[in-house]
Amino acid sequence: MKIIQNNGVPIYQQIASEFQDQIMNGKLQPGTYLPSIRSLAKDLKISVITTKKAYEVLEAEGLVSSVPGKGFYINATDTEMMREQHQRKVEDALSEAIHAANVAGMTKQDLIETLTTLLDLEDEGREQ
Protein backbone atom coordinates (compact mmCIF):
# COMPACT_ATOMS: atom_id res chain seq x y z
CA MET A 1 0.00 0.00 0.00
CA LYS A 2 1.38 3.39 -0.97
CA ILE A 3 0.63 6.32 1.32
CA ILE A 4 1.34 9.78 -0.02
CA GLN A 5 1.75 12.56 2.55
CA ASN A 6 0.42 16.05 1.75
CA ASN A 7 -1.12 15.25 -1.64
CA GLY A 8 -4.45 16.79 -0.69
CA VAL A 9 -6.20 13.45 -0.14
CA PRO A 10 -6.36 12.69 3.60
CA ILE A 11 -4.34 9.61 4.54
CA TYR A 12 -7.36 7.83 6.02
CA GLN A 13 -9.11 8.27 2.67
CA GLN A 14 -6.14 6.80 0.79
CA ILE A 15 -6.17 3.74 3.04
CA ALA A 16 -9.93 3.33 2.77
CA SER A 17 -9.79 3.51 -1.05
CA GLU A 18 -7.00 0.95 -1.19
CA PHE A 19 -8.98 -1.53 0.90
CA GLN A 20 -12.14 -0.74 -1.09
CA ASP A 21 -10.33 -1.71 -4.27
CA GLN A 22 -8.94 -4.88 -2.71
CA ILE A 23 -12.38 -5.88 -1.44
CA MET A 24 -14.07 -5.15 -4.76
CA ASN A 25 -11.53 -6.98 -6.89
CA GLY A 26 -11.61 -9.96 -4.56
CA LYS A 27 -8.05 -9.74 -3.23
CA LEU A 28 -9.59 -9.53 0.21
CA GLN A 29 -12.13 -12.28 0.75
CA PRO A 30 -15.36 -11.95 2.77
CA GLY A 31 -14.99 -13.24 6.31
CA THR A 32 -11.31 -12.45 6.63
CA TYR A 33 -10.09 -9.86 9.11
CA LEU A 34 -8.32 -6.64 8.23
CA PRO A 35 -5.01 -6.12 10.07
CA SER A 36 -5.55 -4.64 13.54
CA ILE A 37 -5.60 -0.84 13.59
CA ARG A 38 -2.41 -0.73 15.65
CA SER A 39 -0.46 -3.16 13.50
CA LEU A 40 -1.49 -1.35 10.32
CA ALA A 41 -0.44 1.97 11.90
CA LYS A 42 2.89 0.42 12.77
CA ASP A 43 3.44 -0.95 9.25
CA LEU A 44 2.43 2.25 7.48
CA LYS A 45 4.21 4.49 10.01
CA ILE A 46 1.10 6.54 10.69
CA SER A 47 -1.01 7.22 13.76
CA VAL A 48 -3.50 4.70 15.15
CA ILE A 49 -6.40 7.15 14.93
CA THR A 50 -5.83 7.53 11.17
CA THR A 51 -6.10 3.78 10.50
CA LYS A 52 -9.10 3.64 12.82
CA LYS A 53 -10.81 6.37 10.83
CA ALA A 54 -10.07 4.55 7.57
CA TYR A 55 -11.74 1.42 8.95
CA GLU A 56 -14.71 3.47 10.13
CA VAL A 57 -15.15 4.78 6.59
CA LEU A 58 -15.21 1.19 5.29
CA GLU A 59 -17.67 0.25 8.01
CA ALA A 60 -19.97 3.17 7.12
CA GLU A 61 -19.93 1.95 3.51
CA GLY A 62 -20.98 -1.49 4.69
CA LEU A 63 -17.84 -3.18 3.38
CA VAL A 64 -16.60 -4.30 6.78
CA SER A 65 -18.08 -4.90 10.22
CA SER A 66 -16.41 -4.52 13.58
CA VAL A 67 -16.43 -7.03 16.39
CA PRO A 68 -15.47 -5.46 19.72
CA GLY A 69 -12.14 -6.85 20.87
CA LYS A 70 -11.55 -8.75 17.61
CA GLY A 71 -11.29 -6.13 14.92
CA PHE A 72 -12.82 -5.54 11.51
CA TYR A 73 -13.83 -8.33 9.11
CA ILE A 74 -14.91 -8.13 5.49
CA ASN A 75 -18.60 -8.52 4.80
CA ALA A 76 -20.13 -10.86 2.26
CA THR A 77 -20.15 -8.97 -1.01
CA ASP A 78 -23.36 -7.40 -2.14
CA THR A 79 -22.95 -7.12 -5.92
CA GLU A 80 -25.69 -4.53 -6.30
CA MET A 81 -24.08 -2.28 -3.73
CA MET A 82 -20.65 -2.78 -5.25
CA ARG A 83 -21.96 -1.87 -8.67
CA GLU A 84 -23.42 1.32 -7.21
CA GLN A 85 -20.15 2.17 -5.59
CA HIS A 86 -18.24 1.61 -8.81
CA GLN A 87 -20.79 3.77 -10.57
CA ARG A 88 -20.29 6.52 -8.04
CA LYS A 89 -16.55 6.37 -8.64
CA VAL A 90 -17.13 6.73 -12.37
CA GLU A 91 -19.44 9.70 -11.79
CA ASP A 92 -16.87 11.37 -9.55
CA ALA A 93 -14.11 10.90 -12.11
CA LEU A 94 -16.30 12.19 -14.92
CA SER A 95 -17.36 15.23 -12.88
CA GLU A 96 -13.72 16.00 -12.41
CA ALA A 97 -13.13 15.63 -16.14
CA ILE A 98 -16.04 18.00 -16.88
CA HIS A 99 -14.60 20.53 -14.49
CA ALA A 100 -11.17 20.30 -16.13
CA ALA A 101 -12.80 20.59 -19.57
CA ASN A 102 -14.59 23.78 -18.52
CA VAL A 103 -11.33 25.25 -17.31
CA ALA A 104 -9.69 24.32 -20.62
CA GLY A 105 -12.61 25.83 -22.54
CA MET A 106 -13.60 22.55 -24.21
CA THR A 107 -17.13 22.24 -25.59
CA LYS A 108 -19.55 19.46 -24.79
CA GLN A 109 -18.85 17.99 -28.21
CA ASP A 110 -15.05 18.10 -27.63
CA LEU A 111 -15.49 16.25 -24.40
CA ILE A 112 -17.71 13.54 -25.87
CA GLU A 113 -15.26 13.06 -28.73
CA THR A 114 -12.35 12.75 -26.33
CA LEU A 115 -14.21 10.11 -24.34
CA THR A 116 -15.13 8.20 -27.51
CA THR A 117 -11.52 8.28 -28.70
CA LEU A 118 -10.29 7.00 -25.35
CA LEU A 119 -12.88 4.20 -25.39
CA ASP A 120 -11.82 3.21 -28.92
CA LEU A 121 -8.17 3.15 -27.91
CA GLU A 122 -9.07 0.95 -24.95
CA ASP A 123 -10.94 -1.44 -27.28
CA GLU A 124 -8.00 -1.63 -29.70
CA GLY A 125 -5.71 -2.35 -26.80
CA ARG A 126 -7.95 -5.20 -25.72
CA GLU A 127 -8.17 -6.73 -29.18
CA GLN A 128 -4.41 -6.89 -29.61
Partner: protein, 314 residues
Protein backbone atom coordinates in the same frame (compact mmCIF):
# COMPACT_ATOMS: atom_id res chain seq x y z
CA UNK B 1 -17.24 7.23 20.72
CA UNK B 2 -17.05 5.35 24.00
CA UNK B 3 -13.54 5.48 25.26
CA UNK B 4 -11.64 4.28 28.28
CA UNK B 5 -9.35 6.80 29.93
CA UNK B 6 -5.86 5.70 30.95
CA UNK B 7 -5.52 8.92 32.91
CA UNK B 8 -8.31 11.07 34.24
CA UNK B 9 -7.28 14.21 36.10
CA UNK B 10 -9.82 16.15 38.10
CA UNK B 11 -9.36 19.80 39.13
CA UNK B 12 -5.59 19.72 38.98
CA UNK B 13 -4.21 22.99 40.29
CA UNK B 14 -0.74 24.20 41.10
CA UNK B 15 0.40 27.73 41.80
CA UNK B 16 3.85 29.11 42.04
CA UNK B 17 4.73 32.74 41.78
CA UNK B 18 2.68 34.27 38.98
CA UNK B 19 2.17 30.93 37.25
CA UNK B 20 -1.03 29.00 37.76
CA UNK B 21 -1.75 25.55 36.37
CA UNK B 22 -5.48 25.00 36.19
CA UNK B 23 -6.73 21.82 34.52
CA UNK B 24 -10.29 21.02 35.61
CA UNK B 25 -10.66 18.00 33.37
CA UNK B 26 -7.75 16.00 31.91
CA UNK B 27 -8.45 12.96 29.78
CA UNK B 28 -5.84 10.72 28.16
CA UNK B 29 -7.52 7.99 26.08
CA UNK B 30 -6.37 4.43 26.67
CA UNK B 31 -4.77 2.59 23.76
CA UNK B 32 -3.52 5.71 21.97
CA UNK B 33 -0.60 8.12 21.83
CA UNK B 34 -1.42 11.57 23.17
CA UNK B 35 0.77 14.62 22.59
CA UNK B 36 0.98 17.50 25.02
CA UNK B 37 1.79 20.66 23.08
CA UNK B 38 2.43 24.19 24.30
CA UNK B 39 4.81 27.11 24.58
CA UNK B 40 7.70 27.15 26.99
CA UNK B 41 6.22 27.92 30.38
CA UNK B 42 2.71 26.75 29.41
CA UNK B 43 2.81 24.17 32.21
CA UNK B 44 3.63 20.98 30.30
CA UNK B 45 6.42 19.80 32.58
CA UNK B 46 4.47 20.75 35.71
CA UNK B 47 1.57 18.62 34.49
CA UNK B 48 3.91 15.79 33.51
CA UNK B 49 5.57 15.90 36.94
CA UNK B 50 2.18 15.73 38.64
CA UNK B 51 1.09 12.70 36.59
CA UNK B 52 4.40 10.89 37.09
CA UNK B 53 4.43 11.55 40.84
CA UNK B 54 7.64 13.57 40.63
CA UNK B 55 5.72 16.28 42.41
CA UNK B 56 2.91 15.68 44.87
CA UNK B 57 2.36 19.29 46.01
CA UNK B 58 -0.71 20.03 43.94
CA UNK B 59 -4.46 20.19 44.43
CA UNK B 60 -6.81 17.79 42.72
CA UNK B 61 -6.61 14.11 41.88
CA UNK B 62 -5.51 11.75 39.13
CA UNK B 63 -7.20 8.46 38.40
CA UNK B 64 -5.17 5.84 36.51
CA UNK B 65 -6.59 2.97 34.43
CA UNK B 66 -10.07 3.77 35.77
CA UNK B 67 -9.17 2.19 39.11
CA UNK B 68 -6.29 3.68 41.12
CA UNK B 69 -6.72 7.19 42.41
CA UNK B 70 -3.89 9.48 43.49
CA UNK B 71 -4.68 12.59 45.53
CA UNK B 72 -2.55 15.72 45.37
CA UNK B 73 -1.12 16.67 48.77
CA UNK B 74 -2.01 20.35 48.46
CA UNK B 75 0.61 22.90 49.46
CA UNK B 76 4.29 22.10 49.76
CA UNK B 77 4.29 22.18 53.56
CA UNK B 78 2.15 19.03 53.53
CA UNK B 79 5.07 17.06 52.11
CA UNK B 80 7.20 17.19 55.27
CA UNK B 81 6.23 13.62 56.05
CA UNK B 82 9.03 11.71 54.34
CA UNK B 83 7.09 8.66 53.24
CA UNK B 84 4.87 10.54 50.83
CA UNK B 85 3.72 7.66 48.61
CA UNK B 86 0.79 5.40 49.50
CA UNK B 87 0.57 1.67 48.78
CA UNK B 88 -1.65 2.31 45.77
CA UNK B 89 0.92 4.68 44.36
CA UNK B 90 3.74 2.20 44.95
CA UNK B 91 1.81 -0.44 43.00
CA UNK B 92 1.06 2.01 40.21
CA UNK B 93 4.78 2.63 39.80
CA UNK B 94 5.26 -0.76 38.17
CA UNK B 95 2.63 -0.05 35.52
CA UNK B 96 3.99 3.34 34.49
CA UNK B 97 7.23 4.25 32.72
CA UNK B 98 8.47 7.83 32.97
CA UNK B 99 11.24 9.60 31.07
CA UNK B 100 12.45 13.02 32.24
CA UNK B 101 13.46 15.88 29.92
CA UNK B 102 17.04 16.19 31.08
CA UNK B 103 19.62 14.77 33.48
CA UNK B 104 17.60 12.06 35.13
CA UNK B 105 20.39 9.74 36.20
CA UNK B 106 23.28 10.86 38.40
CA UNK B 107 26.13 11.94 36.16
CA UNK B 108 28.77 9.87 37.94
CA UNK B 109 26.77 6.66 37.55
CA UNK B 110 27.73 4.09 34.97
CA UNK B 111 25.22 2.43 32.66
CA UNK B 112 25.68 -0.74 34.73
CA UNK B 113 24.67 1.19 37.85
CA UNK B 114 21.60 2.58 36.10
CA UNK B 115 20.64 -0.99 35.32
CA UNK B 116 21.18 -2.13 38.94
CA UNK B 117 19.17 0.80 40.31
CA UNK B 118 16.33 0.10 37.88
CA UNK B 119 16.29 -3.54 38.94
CA UNK B 120 15.98 -2.48 42.58
CA UNK B 121 13.26 0.07 41.86
CA UNK B 122 11.01 -1.98 39.58
CA UNK B 123 9.91 -5.60 39.98
CA UNK B 124 9.24 -5.91 36.26
CA UNK B 125 12.61 -4.63 35.02
CA UNK B 126 14.25 -7.16 32.68
CA UNK B 127 18.03 -7.04 32.50
CA UNK B 128 18.09 -9.05 29.25
CA UNK B 129 15.59 -6.76 27.60
CA UNK B 130 17.50 -3.69 28.79
CA UNK B 131 20.79 -4.96 27.38
CA UNK B 132 19.08 -5.86 24.13
CA UNK B 133 17.61 -2.34 23.75
CA UNK B 134 20.88 -0.61 24.69
CA UNK B 135 22.51 -2.65 21.93
CA UNK B 136 19.70 -1.96 19.43
CA UNK B 137 19.71 1.80 20.09
CA UNK B 138 23.47 1.82 19.74
CA UNK B 139 24.11 3.47 23.11
CA UNK B 140 27.88 3.57 23.64
CA UNK B 141 28.91 1.28 26.52
CA UNK B 142 32.65 1.70 26.38
CA UNK B 143 34.10 -1.24 28.30
CA UNK B 144 37.51 0.41 28.80
CA UNK B 145 36.01 2.19 31.78
CA UNK B 146 35.23 -0.31 34.53
CA UNK B 147 31.52 -1.21 34.49
CA UNK B 148 30.98 0.78 31.36
CA UNK B 149 30.65 4.40 30.36
CA UNK B 150 29.62 7.09 32.85
CA UNK B 151 26.43 9.07 32.27
CA UNK B 152 28.47 12.30 32.21
CA UNK B 153 30.32 11.04 29.11
CA UNK B 154 27.12 10.43 27.13
CA UNK B 155 25.65 13.01 24.75
CA UNK B 156 22.17 14.42 25.48
CA UNK B 157 20.75 12.17 22.77
CA UNK B 158 22.33 9.05 24.24
CA UNK B 159 21.12 9.95 27.73
CA UNK B 160 17.59 10.14 26.37
CA UNK B 161 18.05 6.81 24.60
CA UNK B 162 19.17 5.34 27.91
CA UNK B 163 16.03 6.61 29.62
CA UNK B 164 13.96 5.10 26.82
CA UNK B 165 15.81 1.78 27.19
CA UNK B 166 15.01 1.80 30.94
CA UNK B 167 11.26 2.18 30.46
CA UNK B 168 11.09 -0.28 27.56
CA UNK B 169 12.87 -2.91 29.65
CA UNK B 170 9.71 -3.11 31.74
CA UNK B 171 6.24 -4.37 30.82
CA UNK B 172 4.13 -1.29 31.52
CA UNK B 173 0.67 0.02 30.63
CA UNK B 174 1.50 3.71 30.36
CA UNK B 175 4.49 5.73 29.22
CA UNK B 176 4.82 9.33 30.37
CA UNK B 177 7.55 11.02 28.34
CA UNK B 178 8.55 14.62 28.92
CA UNK B 179 10.08 16.04 25.73
CA UNK B 180 11.54 12.74 24.50
CA UNK B 181 12.19 14.02 20.96
CA UNK B 182 14.05 17.23 21.81
CA UNK B 183 17.59 15.87 22.31
CA UNK B 184 17.28 13.24 19.56
CA UNK B 185 18.62 13.49 16.01
CA UNK B 186 16.17 13.16 13.06
CA UNK B 187 16.84 9.46 12.54
CA UNK B 188 16.37 8.67 16.20
CA UNK B 189 13.17 10.74 16.28
CA UNK B 190 11.85 8.54 13.53
CA UNK B 191 12.92 5.50 15.56
CA UNK B 192 11.17 6.96 18.61
CA UNK B 193 7.93 7.09 16.59
CA UNK B 194 8.43 3.44 15.62
CA UNK B 195 9.07 2.57 19.27
CA UNK B 196 5.82 4.25 20.33
CA UNK B 197 3.84 2.43 17.60
CA UNK B 198 5.44 -0.91 18.56
CA UNK B 199 4.60 -0.28 22.21
CA UNK B 200 0.95 0.49 21.38
CA UNK B 201 0.64 -2.46 19.02
CA UNK B 202 2.05 -4.92 21.55
CA UNK B 203 -0.49 -3.59 24.08
CA UNK B 204 -3.46 -4.27 21.74
CA UNK B 205 -5.39 -1.36 23.17
CA UNK B 206 -4.21 -1.79 26.76
CA UNK B 207 -1.16 0.46 26.51
CA UNK B 208 -1.11 4.26 26.37
CA UNK B 209 1.61 6.82 25.62
CA UNK B 210 1.54 10.43 26.77
CA UNK B 211 4.38 12.65 25.63
CA UNK B 212 5.08 16.38 25.57
CA UNK B 213 6.77 17.84 22.53
CA UNK B 214 7.85 20.96 20.68
CA UNK B 215 8.65 18.87 17.61
CA UNK B 216 5.08 18.59 16.41
CA UNK B 217 5.88 17.86 12.77
CA UNK B 218 8.28 15.05 13.64
CA UNK B 219 5.73 13.48 15.96
CA UNK B 220 2.53 14.14 13.97
CA UNK B 221 2.40 10.67 12.42
CA UNK B 222 2.39 9.05 15.82
CA UNK B 223 -0.04 11.43 17.51
CA UNK B 224 -3.60 10.18 17.96
CA UNK B 225 -4.88 12.69 20.47
CA UNK B 226 -3.53 16.18 21.05
CA UNK B 227 -3.78 18.43 24.10
CA UNK B 228 -2.73 22.02 23.48
CA UNK B 229 -1.87 24.16 26.50
CA UNK B 230 -1.30 27.85 26.92
CA UNK B 231 -0.54 29.69 30.15
CA UNK B 232 -1.48 26.85 32.48
CA UNK B 233 -4.76 25.83 30.84
CA UNK B 234 -5.88 23.52 28.05
CA UNK B 235 -7.00 25.64 25.08
CA UNK B 236 -7.86 22.79 22.70
CA UNK B 237 -7.84 19.01 22.67
CA UNK B 238 -9.15 16.16 20.61
CA UNK B 239 -8.36 13.26 18.30
CA UNK B 240 -6.15 14.61 15.53
CA UNK B 241 -8.52 13.41 12.80
CA UNK B 242 -11.38 15.30 14.49
CA UNK B 243 -9.31 18.46 14.88
CA UNK B 244 -8.48 18.28 11.17
CA UNK B 245 -12.21 18.30 10.47
CA UNK B 246 -12.95 21.04 12.96
CA UNK B 247 -10.47 23.48 11.42
CA UNK B 248 -9.37 24.59 7.95
CA UNK B 249 -6.21 26.40 6.88
CA UNK B 250 -7.04 29.43 4.77
CA UNK B 251 -4.78 31.52 2.54
CA UNK B 252 -6.21 34.67 0.96
CA UNK B 253 -5.01 37.61 -1.13
CA UNK B 254 -4.15 40.87 0.60
CA UNK B 255 -7.26 42.68 -0.69
CA UNK B 256 -9.52 40.10 0.97
CA UNK B 257 -7.93 40.38 4.40
CA UNK B 258 -10.81 42.32 5.94
CA UNK B 259 -13.29 39.63 4.94
CA UNK B 260 -11.43 36.72 6.54
CA UNK B 261 -9.42 38.27 9.36
CA UNK B 262 -12.25 38.41 11.92
CA UNK B 263 -12.68 34.64 11.55
CA UNK B 264 -9.01 33.74 11.64
CA UNK B 265 -7.09 32.29 14.57
CA UNK B 266 -3.41 33.15 14.78
CA UNK B 267 -3.54 35.00 11.45
CA UNK B 268 -0.29 35.86 9.71
CA UNK B 269 -0.42 38.97 7.56
CA UNK B 270 2.03 40.33 5.02
CA UNK B 271 1.95 42.64 2.02
CA UNK B 272 1.11 39.66 -0.16
CA UNK B 273 -1.76 38.15 1.73
CA UNK B 274 -3.13 36.67 4.89
CA UNK B 275 -3.17 33.12 6.18
CA UNK B 276 -4.54 31.53 9.29
CA UNK B 277 -6.66 28.86 10.86
CA UNK B 278 -10.44 29.03 10.67
CA UNK B 279 -13.22 26.91 12.05
CA UNK B 280 -14.76 24.79 9.31
CA UNK B 281 -18.17 26.19 10.26
CA UNK B 282 -16.96 29.49 8.74
CA UNK B 283 -15.89 27.90 5.45
CA UNK B 284 -18.49 29.99 3.55
CA UNK B 285 -16.49 33.14 4.30
CA UNK B 286 -13.35 31.65 2.75
CA UNK B 287 -15.22 30.20 -0.22
CA UNK B 288 -16.95 33.51 -1.00
CA UNK B 289 -13.57 35.16 -1.70
CA UNK B 290 -12.06 32.18 -3.48
CA UNK B 291 -9.34 31.64 -0.86
CA UNK B 292 -7.11 28.56 -0.82
CA UNK B 293 -8.61 26.13 1.68
CA UNK B 294 -6.60 23.20 2.97
CA UNK B 295 -6.76 20.55 5.64
CA UNK B 296 -4.39 21.81 8.33
CA UNK B 297 -1.53 19.77 9.73
CA UNK B 298 -1.43 19.23 13.48
CA UNK B 299 1.51 21.62 13.55
CA UNK B 300 -0.53 24.35 11.82
CA UNK B 301 -3.44 23.83 14.21
CA UNK B 302 -1.21 23.96 17.28
CA UNK B 303 0.91 26.92 16.20
CA UNK B 304 -2.14 28.97 15.08
CA UNK B 305 -3.98 28.36 18.34
CA UNK B 306 -0.90 29.06 20.43
CA UNK B 307 -0.38 32.26 18.47
CA UNK B 308 -3.98 33.26 19.05
CA UNK B 309 -3.72 32.86 22.81
CA UNK B 310 -0.08 33.68 23.52
CA UNK B 311 1.26 36.58 25.53
CA UNK B 312 4.13 36.74 23.04
CA UNK B 313 4.01 40.12 21.25
CA UNK B 314 6.64 39.61 18.57
Amino acid sequence: MEMKQAVYGLNIQKKYGKFRLDVPDLKIPQGYATALIGENGAGKTTLMNILSGVRMDYYGSVRFFEEAEVQGRGAEKNLKDKNIYTNTEDKLRDRIGYTAPNDYFLSNWTIAQVMEASELLFDNFSRERFEEIVEKLNIPTDSKVKNGKKIADLSDGNRMKLEIACVLARDTDLLLMDEPASPLDPLMRDTLCDIIRDYLEAGQGRRTVFFSTHNISDMENVTDYAIIMEDGTIIEEGFVEDLKEKYIMVRADAEDRNAVKPYMLGAHESNYGIEGLMKRENIDVAESIDAVIQIPTLSEIAVSLMKQYTGLKF
